[in-house]
């Protein structure tokens, strides 16, 4: 216990004197937010189609998305580096390999199943009558999708927060794609670099503390969102939509 306490103090002390902590945190936040943003833009339409569809194809797709949650990130990283030529520039600037763009692109692949699966399950859990009513009132196409997303917004927010959290903690793909430089190292991959050499245990503990603080902030957001959602759920006793805890 003494050791853990001692290293905790050393970690905090390390953080207070770490000139790169800001850069690392900003890189982590950028990776999480950019990857999740792109994955959300790509994934939500798919989630709507899968969640609202009743065909065999949509059911199959949900199973595939669910399975995709376990995608080995190391494999994604390896194939990404092999397939993307090193000097190619990303559409939004920077290079693919040894740069933030490539990390974001790989993380999009890993985040997409999370967004699609969790949102689609939330939409699927909406009461049938609700969607039927919307259809009866003439909603169709993108209006129906927007309606379903608004009704299932708790699940969508949960999906987004999960995706951000996954990006924060990701090391497999990200470390393979990013070279070693201050602008492409996230907190999680810095922990690996610390333990492998230069900064040793205090640095690793310090960066882990910051990483866990970020995850806790995400958990807090989730708690607040779910709390407000549960209250509105209680207000409407006729609604049978599943609570987010069941979805997640």
């Amino acid at each position: 216990m003494r050791l853990i306490f001692e290293y905790f103090l050393q970690g905090v002390r390390y953080d207070l004197h770490d000139p790169y902590l800001g850069v690392l945190t900003i890189t982590t936040l950028r990776l999480g937010s950019e990857a999740t943003l792109i994955a959300t833009i790509l994934g939500l339409p798919a989630a709507c189609a899968i969640g609202l569809g009743r065909s065999r194809i949509s059911r199959r797709s949900l199973v595939i998305a669910n399975a995709g949650l376990g995608l080995p990130s190391v494999a994604v990283g390896v194939y990404f580096v092999l397939l993307v030529p090193g000097n190619a520039t990303a559409p939004w600037g920077g290079t693919w390999i040894n740069g933030l763009s490539g990390m974001v692109a790989a993380q999009v692949v890993l985040s997409l199943p999370i967004i699609v699966a969790v949102s689609a399950i939330a939409i699927r859990g909406l009461p049938d009558g609700l969607i039927d009513q919307a259809v009866a009132f003439g909603a169709s196409g993108w209006r129906l999708w927007l309606f379903a997303l608004r009704e299932a917004k708790l699940g969508v927010i949960t999906a987004v927060i999960f995706a951000v959290g996954a990006a924060f903690g990701e090391v497999g793909a990200v470390t393979l794609i990013s070279g070693i430089s201050n602008t492409t190292t996230t907190l999680a991959s810095q922990v690996i670099l610390d333990m492998q050499g230069t900064d040793g245990v205090p640095g690793a503990v310090g960066h882990t503390i910051v990483l866990l603080a970020l995850m806790m902030a995400l958990g807090l957001i989730l708690l607040v969102v779910q709390g407000s959602g549960t209250r509105s759920h209680l207000r409407d006793p006729l609604s049978t939509s599943p609570r987010v805890e069941e979805v997640a």
Partner: protein
């Protein structure tokens, strides 16, 4: 085939520089052709039954199965109790378990390191330093077990919650004890409990962060050469060592030298295991089952 027979004859084994110091420009396949060539070599390594790939696969499966079993022994009863419990404490603990599910593996690795560390000058070792596992392979087992426990607890609890409360109340009315009711609930929810264990096994197969960060060795000595402890670790470390080089070299040389084709072979087996687990989960019809990898790496 004897190990490393062609090693000295391998053309790529030569130094890339001549004695005069000017780099030798060897024409290499580039771009997509290089990728296809490497894939071909990787597939060859897998299907020719390369010793390193086979051994590493078996080692990975052993690590995954054993650590998942230990985690299941701890996590299933705990998750069952939390799922059936109606007290406030049970609900808080359940929330905590599902929150711990999302703790990144590197943080678990740091925790394991601190638990097993022999300690520095001035302060004693970690809580479990007495085990002397600091640089032992058992550390990897501990990492993966700690990763798997919260997943099994959270998913078992949600599986048990899905059992109709009518049935459990009936059992209570017939005088079934708490133990009996727990077993009944587990039997009713067995499909989803098995799914939970499979999900945890997927994580223990693919996660690398914890093993790399805790002081567990990344390679293990087999005969006269070293092999990676798991497929994912192998793909990661091998690929990092050779990053930038192109595909080349005979297969046998892969035994004691990192080559990209070896990394590709590892990832092919890894993806195969992933597809296998996904197929089993689909067979269990765990359609409502959603899980979040704790950082997934």
């Amino acid at each position: 085939m004897p190990v490393g027979t062609h090693r000295t004859a391998a053309p790529w084994h030569r130094s890339p520089r001549t004695r005069l110091g000017s780099p030798v420009i060897i024409p290499q396949p580039s771009g997509f052709h290089a990728f296809l060539a490497g894939m071909h070599e990787g597939v060859d390594l897998v299907f020719s039954g390369n010793q390193v790939v086979v051994d590493t696969t078996l080692r990975t499966l052993r690590l995954a199965v054993e650590s998942t079993l230990i985690a299941a022994l701890i996590g299933v009863p705990f998750g069952c109790a939390l799922g059936l419990g109606r007290s406030r404490v049970a609900r808080v603990l359940l929330r905590l378990a599902s929150a711990v599910t999302r703790v990144p593996p590197v943080a678990i690795g740091v925790l394991v390191y601190l638990l097993l560390a022999n300690g520095g000058p001035g302060y004693g070792g970690g809580l479990l330093a007495g085990l002397h596992w600091e640089t032992e392979p058992q550390g990897a087992y501990m990492d993966q077990t700690l990763l798997a426990i919260p997943i099994i607890v959270a998913l078992t609890a949600s599986a048990v919650k899905g059992v109709s409360s009518l049935l459990l109340d009936q059992a209570r009315a017939f005088g079934a004890s708490g133990w009996k009711r727990g077993l009944l609930a587990l039997r009713e929810a067995r499909r989803r409990v098995i799914a939970a264990i499979l999900v945890a096994m997927g994580v223990t197969i693919t996660a690398i962060g914890a093993i790399i960060v805790s002081n567990a060795p990344l390679t293990t000595r087999v005969g006269d050469h070293y092999q990676p402890v798991t497929l994912a670790i192998g793909a990661f470390t091998t690929f990092r060592q050779v990053q930038g080089s192109t595909f080349s070299g005979p297969q046998t040389a892969a035994l004691d030298r990192p080559t990209p084709s070896l990394a590709v072979a590892f990832t092919i087996v890894l993806l195969g295991l992933f597809v296998l687990i996904a197929a089993m989960l689909t067979r269990l019809q765990a359609r409502r089952l959603s899980w979040i990898p704790g950082g997934q790496s």
